[in-house]
């Protein structure tokens, strides 16, 4: 098989002090869903940031569609079709919901009305609140804005850091459904999840990160089936 | 050697260099201003570095400290007192009483129109009564020999006593300000305090009965134990001593006086540092840092944020007030016109930030360094310009530049400030 669509390979690095990542590799194939799970502080978010170029890597490389993009700035990666929802501070609090979504489509020059309508379909509450500053939303609503913003980009690969943290079950189900749909259109999805069982359910591939290194890597279903993984990382 | 020591050694060399290249008198007088600035910077650091309060009313507290010196140590003006002293006091008490009453009513009544109206009515009425009582007395006092007096004068007490009183006066003002304005955040608090400082200085400039307003009070007594040069120069014992050591009596006397001040100021500075360092490295300091980091969380964790803010605002302002009093009693005169925000607020802020906010030694370093710069560029500026233009042919352009040399004072300061911040963007001694 050819190289995965997006791969962060043998990444080692951290925030300036001691290394957080130790030769960690994560990848996702075209149109597939890859899920990263692991204990708190394992380095999941760090790995995501590294793939997005928000962190200086000491070694390892990031490749997108075969091209080495290790040296590119996050902005340039956006231009290359990568989208990212960080775990925290993932909305523009002083801007309205609609403006947040528009900002998601910032690099798009085409008409994004349709996408906007789709996002509103997916998260009806956002439509209601579209003229309200996003900072006044509830925690779960903010999370919906953040995901909606990333969807607006229409990226070729979408990276989500705990997109379902704090959203209600009904919305979470919707969200996962939507993520499957998105993947079916050929967009690759790389996501970190603590609602790991639901996530692995829909995942083509799963990574378990522990202390900045890959502990288990397998298909989503296989990881779900692994009792060791279930007990130690998925809450039994 | 650690960074702190190195920087302080460098600083010492700067002052020593000034002593050798210019004169020791100049070095010492700059050091005095530096020490005073350091104390003010400490006061600001307590507020900003510890609690994140953006106070730009430093000028006002400095001025209040200065006012304390007049009120404490100037000789009373008996004729002025007789003319209107009691009237003014009554007026002030009435004014204070009506404010107190208004606050009382505001707190007691239920929110709504009625409360608004009652409070307003009390304030307006209070203002009218206040003016009616105080105006004639003020007139009477101010027309008492306006060219030399026109004020009530002070209590004629020792000047040293004015220092703590200056602190108290500033603290009292800080209390009142804090009670009203501390709900504001960042730049909004900044402009409010800036405004209050302007108001304080405006009162001091315009209320002649208080401290002669812009007409200034001079010849305030010196604090114990600082002698007067003129007396030293006439004191046979001193002259004897001087000749024995082969000094020039004038130089020796001026230097001794300055050294006296240096000792006094250093003592105060060290005491304040000691207290604030101890406080910072204690649970109290931890609580303050928590409040600075996240007020909401600190409040939810049971810390009374409002009260703590008020406390630290008062403490910091009192420190500034003390420094203000020290400055006025050293200069021997109160000149309200000199209080401008650039010198007494923003320059102090520059000191705090360049020194490294949140670090007491940083504030001292910043105070001594920027204080030195501020005063030395006056001497360096023209020299620098001379150097810069030495390659130029004589003529209109060179003449123009040389003439502009004094304006290089601010330019030089600006360049150096930018350089320092460039190479240590979090200040020379960053706080933790």
């Amino acid at each position: 098989m050819a190289e995965p669509f997006l791969i962060g390979e043998a990444m080692t690095g951290g925030y300036g002090g001691a290394d957080i990542l130790h030769g960690c590799t994560i990848a996702v194939e075209k149109g597939q869903i890859a899920v990263i799970v692991g204990p708190n502080g394992a380095g999941k978010s760090t790995a995501m940031k590294a793939v997005f170029g928000m962190l200086q890597l000491r070694s390892g490389q990031v490749k997108l569609a075969g091209e080495d993009i290790t040296a590119l700035s996050p902005q340039d990666r956006v231009a290359k079709g990568m989208g990212f929802v960080p775990q925290t501070q993932n909305i523009f609090t002083s801007m309205t919901v609609e403006e947040n979504l528009e900002m998601g489509a910032f690099i798009r020059r085409d008409d994004f009305k349709d996408t906007l309508a789709q996002v509103y379909d997916l998260f009806p509450i956002l439509k209601q609140k579209r003229l309200q500053p996003a900072g006044e939303l509830s925690g779960g609503q903010r999370q919906q804005v953040a995901v909606g913003r990333a969807l607006m980009t229409q990226p070729s690969v979408l990276m989500l850091d705990e997109p379902t943290a704090g959203v209600s079950p009904i919305v979470m189900d919707e969200l996962f459904d939507r993520i499957i749909e998105v993947a079916r259109t050929g967009i690759s999805i790389l996501m970190v999840e603590q609602n790991a069982r639901q996530a692995l359910n829909i995942a083509d591939k799963g990574y378990v990160l522990v202390q900045g290194a890959n502990r288990f890597t397998d298909t989503g279903a296989a990881l779900m089936a692994d009792p060791e993984v279930r007990r130690s990382f998925l809450g039994g | 050697m650690n960074r702190t020591t190195i920087l302080f050694v460098v600083l010492a060399l700067l002052y020593a260099g000034t002593g050798f290249l210019f004169s020791w008198n100049l070095a010492l007088s700059i050091l005095l201003m530096g020490l005073l600035s350091s104390i003010m910077a400490l006061g600001v650091n307590i507020q900003w570095g510890y609690a994140g309060l953006f106070n730009t009313g430093i000028m006002g507290f400095t001025a209040l400290g200065g006012l304390a010196v007049v009120l404490v140590s100037a000789q009373p003006v008996v004729a002025g007192w007789n003319a209107g002293g009691p009237g003014i006091l009554t007026g002030l008490l009435l004014g204070a009483a009506s404010i107190a009453l208004a606050v009382f009513v505001w707190n007691r009544m239920a929110a709504g129109r009625a409360r608004m109206l009652t409070t307003m009515a009390i304030l307006v009425l209070g203002f009218v009564v206040f003016r009616a009582v105080i105006d004639p007395s003020v007139m009477a006092v101010e027309s008492n020999d306006p060219a030399t007096f026109g004020n009530l004068g002070g209590l004629g007490l020792p000047s040293l006593l004015a220092w703590p009183v200056g602190g108290l006066l500033a603290a009292a003002a800080a209390w009142a300000i804090g009670k009203t304005a501390l709900g504001l955040r960042s730049d909004y608090l900044a402009i409010a305090t800036l405004g209050i400082a302007e108001i304080i200085v405006a009162v001091m400039r315009n209320e002649d009965w208080l401290a002669r307003g812009v007409k200034n009070v001079d010849e305030l007594p010196r604090p114990w134990p600082v002698p007067y040069e003129v007396f030293l120069q006439k004191d046979p014992g001193f002259l004897d001593w001087v000749t024995r050591w082969g000094f020039d009596p004038v130089t020796a006397s001026t230097i001794i006086v300055k050294l006296c001040y240096v000792v006094l100021f250093t003592l105060v500075l060290l005491a304040i540092i000691w207290l604030s360092e101890r406080a910072l490295h204690s649970p109290w300091g931890r609580m303050m840092r928590a409040i600075r980091d996240n007020e909401v969380a600190a409040n939810a964790m049971g810390k009374n944020v409002t009260k703590r803010h008020l406390q630290i605002f008062i403490l910091g302002s009192a420190v500034v007030g003390i420094a203000g009093a020290m400055m006025t009693s050293m200069e021997g005169q109160l000149v309200p016109g000199t209080y401008n925000p650039l010198r007494f607020t923003f320059l102090i802020w520059v000191m705090v930030i360049v020194g490294g906010s949140g670090n007491n030694w940083g504030s001292v370093l910043g105070g001594l360094l920027i204080g030195w710069l501020w005063l030395i560029v006056e001497s360096l500026g023209p020299g620098m310009m001379g150097l810069l233009t030495s390659g130029l042919a004589d003529g209109w352009f060179k003449a123009h530049l040389v003439e502009a040399a004094p304006h290089m004072r601010l330019l030089t300061l600006g360049v150096i400030l930018l350089l320092v911040l460039r190479f240590s963007p979090r200040g020379l001694l960053p706080g933790k």
Partner: protein, 263 residues
């Protein structure tokens, strides 16, 4: 323990809490669920004194505590965590915990200046206590790390840890589980039960993870659009039509997959 009577909180024209009345029984672990934007956090904020109510009353042990500031409520034993972590970023994790207890000797300036020995002794005790809590949360290794430099989930743990530093009467937990590893969340659940049983803490827990709610809580209250929608045992609430419609959903499409996966 806590009685909320017809509480309203409006933001402009929007009624975030719109006439909620509920009771949190002493010694209970009450679950609070509801769709995003139902007003759960706002309700917490009003109870905990962070926001003044537009109208209505909050009563704690028979005493009207409506509108008291947070620090006074803290003194009465009412603690809360934040949905969006509120750490003290420039302080170490340990310091984040040590600052919590109220009325520390060293918090008065006089003692800080002139009574160092007493303060030092107290500090020692606090540090030990903090280390114990960190141990429990499995983040001892972070004790000396700046709180701004820990992971999102670790911040959540720290939030929880703070409530463990003092003897609380009632603790309001706002989505401690979001972003926390499920295995660890189970441990946290155990701890909550233990605190409840052994020390008699009352808990009110907002959580979207129904497994967690089901394991811990009785009763469960479901809010929607600022009102109480349903109330009862977990099973009652879980099977309430309105709750399913507004909150739980049928989870149909996924459920199908899950079942398929498990054969």
């Amino acid at each position: 323990m806590i009685v909320v009577e017809d509480l309203h909180r409006h933001f402009g024209g929007f009624h975030a809490v719109d006439g909620a009345s509920l009771t949190i029984g002493t010694g209970s672990i009450t679950g609070l669920i509801g769709p995003n934007g139902a007003g759960k956090t706002t309700l917490f904020n009003v109870i905990a004194g962070r926001l003044p109510p537009t109208s209505g009353r909050v009563i704690m042990d028979g005493e009207d505590i409506t509108g008291l500031p947070p620090h006074e409520l803290f003194a009465k034993g009412l603690l809360r965590t934040f949905q969006i972590a509120h750490e003290f970023g420039s302080m170490t994790v340990r310091e984040n915990l040590m600052m919590v207890p109220a009325r520390q000797k060293g918090e008065t300036l006089w003692n800080a200046w002139f009574n160092r020995n007493a303060v030092a002794a107290e500090e020692k005790a606090l540090a030990d206590k903090a280390d114990e809590v960190l141990e429990f949360l499995t983040i001892s290794h972070l004790a000396d790390q700046k709180a701004s430099q820990i992971s999102g989930g670790q911040k959540k743990l720290l939030e929880l840890g703070r409530t463990m530093m003092v003897d609380a009467k009632i603790v309001f937990l706002d989505e401690v589980g979001a972003g926390v590893n499920r295995t660890l969340l189970n441990t946290i659940g155990d701890a909550i039960v233990r605190l409840n049983k052994e020390r008699g803490y009352t808990f009110c827990v907002i959580e979207h993870d129904m497994d967690f709610i089901a394991r811990l809580c009785d009763p469960v209250i479901c809010m929607a659009e600022g009102k109480v929608l349903a109330q009862g045992t977990v099973d009652e609430v879980k099977n309430d039509e309105r709750v399913i419609e507004a909150y739980l959903g049928t989870g149909l499409k996924n459920k199908v997959k899950e079942e398929a996966a498990h054969g």
